[in-house]
């Protein structure tokens, strides 16, 4: 069964002059994770706000857990959790105050709200900070508290809008761990992100959106095949280029080797990830070659866009390449 369906969503702003969504359609199978991947301004937040009952589209159809979002928003609100792009909690109050307030607004009894708050603080590693005002929290702690607040009623369907944007690598790892656990618990999740790496790690399926439309969708493997997966890149001194080329050929299995003499760089697509990297390093070492640089280059959002649309993602901001190695969930 589909837990989320959006069909032909159109949303314009400023009397039609800004087209935020241009016939966007997507769906999420119950119990799975859909990663909505897109650059700034693609329409991610607009989509999430429509699905979470906050915004009415100009036209289109939306349903969550089989309930029509536009006709019965109150029913939908009882089963969804939303954590928006920016943490939306009361800064003046403590983490504890916030969770109790939201618990009560979900109509939990005073006692139920308390025990749920204790659970969530524990789960999100915030117990120690519980009695501090939110304004003393770090960005990562805020995000975690915001997420905790959206989980109070154990929602069936969860919407996370760029849950890791603005977090440092450590914070991002923590957030991934938390989200992994939620997904194991069986929640249906739609998350948006600007990072291919993140969608790859967290999502069962990815929908790439651009200018308010889905331009590609599929599993990350499928997408990567379209994009061309990781590349092994080695930079060496000029006299070592030929030797390096042989090594790369050996490690990558031979296809698609590219030698750039100007950059003194040899590269080739690899399928074995860090294993290829280690092997190449070992072989270089055996030959007594000291590489100036060696690494795996993951396809970035730019590469995806380049491959899918022939143009790079527009209006992008900090397009950082994630340093962290994504741990694969076994699925």
């Amino acid at each position: 069964m589909k837990a989320v369906i959006a069909e032909g969503l159109i949303k314009t702003y400023n009397k039609g002059s800004i087209k935020a969504l241009d016939g966007l359609s997507l769906d999420v199978e119950e119990g799975t994770v859909l990663g909505v991947l897109g650059p700034n301004g693609a329409g991610k937040t607009t989509t999430v706000r429509i699905l979470a009952t906050l915004l009415a589209p100009d036209s289109g159809r939306v349903s969550v857990a089989g309930i029509d979002v536009l006709k019965h928003p109150d029913e939908v609100r009882k089963i969804i959790g939303l954590s928006g792009q920016y943490a939306a909690v009361d800064e003046t109050l403590t983490g504890w105050d916030n969770l109790i307030m939201f618990g009560r607004l979900y109509h939990l009894s005073a006692n139920a709200a308390k025990s749920r708050a204790i659970e969530l603080l524990e789960q999100f590693n915030l117990t120690e900070a519980a009695k501090r005002p939110i304004r003393t929290y770090s960005g990562g702690m805020r995000r975690r508290l915001d997420l905790a607040a959206s989980l109070i009623i154990r929602p069936k369907v969860l919407f996370l809008d760029e849950p890791t944007t603005g977090l440092d690598p450590r914070g991002r790892q923590d957030m991934w761990g938390v989200i992994d656990d939620l997904v194991k618990g069986g929640v249906t999740l739609l998350l948006t992100t600007q990072y291919l790496e993140e969608a790859d790690h967290l999502a069962d399926e990815i929908a790439v959106i651009d200018h308010g439309k889905v331009i590609a969708r599929g599993t990350s493997d499928l997408l990567k095949k379209q994009v061309g997966g990781e590349r092994l890149e080695i930079v060496v001194e000029n006299q070592d280029l030929t030797a390096a080329k042989e090594i790369v050929a050996q490690v990558s299995g031979g296809g698609g080797i590219n030698v750039d003499e100007g950059l003194r760089q040899v590269s080739a697509p690899v399928t074995t990830g860090s294993k290829a990297l280690i092997e190449a390093a070992k072989l270089l070492d055996e030959k007594g070659i000291h590489p100036l640089d060696i690494g795996l280059k993951r396809p970035s959002l730019d590469d995806v866009f380049l491959a899918l649309t022939g143009h790079v993602a527009e209006e992008k901001k900090d397009e950082e390449v994630l340093l962290t190695q994504g741990r694969k969930r076994g699925k």
């Binding site: 979470a52 906050l54 915004l55 009882k78 969804i80 920016y86 939306a88 009361d90 307030m101 979900y106």
Partner: protein, 264 residues
């Protein structure tokens, strides 16, 4: 029933904020107290009211009404801040009654008014304010003030929901309230104003409120001078009419605006 308990949770949130940051109460109180002292000692000596007990008897109701009228600003700014921080979006994603957030806020601001009015009343008493109408009428007077503040708060809700930035909310509310309180009988009699202004001032709800409070606190000359117009003759009735009118217009408008904010 859920609608009421939802609203009270929002109200409680505001009271908790005051408990967590006591400076918030402190500064809400200091300003009106400062007004009482400034007016009492700066103008008090030079304005002859012909009133037993002097200017302070006329002044206090004026400052009370001005202070509760400014609830509008607190409400508007608070609401705009909540919108900017995304809190209103979060509230709107919860399964709560559509007006709970707005009622919660206006009730919270009314609750703060109780504290503020108490502090002002005590300060007034210390500097010579003596209501002579008996406990019941004094109680009635303060109740009037609270309800008027609540009504003005709803004007603030509409402003708060309509602007996009806190600073705009601050300015917009000052522009709304200052003329209202100065084009009135709050600090000086309307009889000294040019005719057209006098007309406006006498029909101004702030004037009828001030006159009503003066009456309830036991003053004979409620307008500060005999004006003779309809509102100056019937300030209690006119004030009640105004309060009902303000609420009847601004509560539905605000609730509609809140629910339609998804269309933006």
């Amino acid at each position: 029933m859920n609608a009421i308990s939802d609203a009270l949770i929002i109200t409680k949130r505001q009271l908790l904020q005051l408990a967590r940051v006591p400076e918030l109460i402190l500064f809400s109180i200091i300003q009106p107290i400062m007004f009482v002292l400034l007016f009492r000692f700066v103008f008090g000596g030079s304005i002859d009211t012909g009133q037993p007990g002097g200017y302070v008897q006329l002044l206090m109701p004026g400052i009370f009404v001005q202070t509760v009228a400014f609830t509008l600003a607190a409400t508007a700014v608070g609401l705009t801040a909540d919108m900017q921080k995304g809190l209103i979006d979060r509230f709107r994603s919860l399964p709560i009654s559509r007006s709970a957030v707005l009622f919660g806020r206006t009730l919270g601001d009314a609750a703060l008014n109780i504290v503020v009015l108490t502090a002002m009343g005590l300060t007034g008493y210390i500097v010579g304010w003596r209501p002579t109408s008996g406990l019941f009428n004094v109680f009635l007077g303060f109740s009037f003030l609270l309800v008027f503040g609540f009504a003005m708060s709803w004007v603030g809700v509409l402003i708060g929901l309509s602007v996009r930035e806190e600073r705009v909310a601050t300015n917009a509310t000052f522009i709304a309230v200052f003329p209202l309180t100065f084009l009135s009988n709050a600090f000086a009699p309307t009889t000294g104003m040019p005719k057209p202004l006098q007309y406006i001032a006498e029909w101004n709800p702030v004037s009828t409120m001030v006159a009503a409070c003066r009456q309830l606190f036991g003053l004979e000359n409620q307008f500060g001078a005999t004006a003779g117009s309809f509102p100056s003759e019937n300030p209690l009735m006119m004030s009640i009419v105004y309060m009902i009118l303000i609420m009847a217009v601004f509560i539905p408008l605000s609730v509609r605006k809140y629910n339609n904010s998804s269309k933006r």
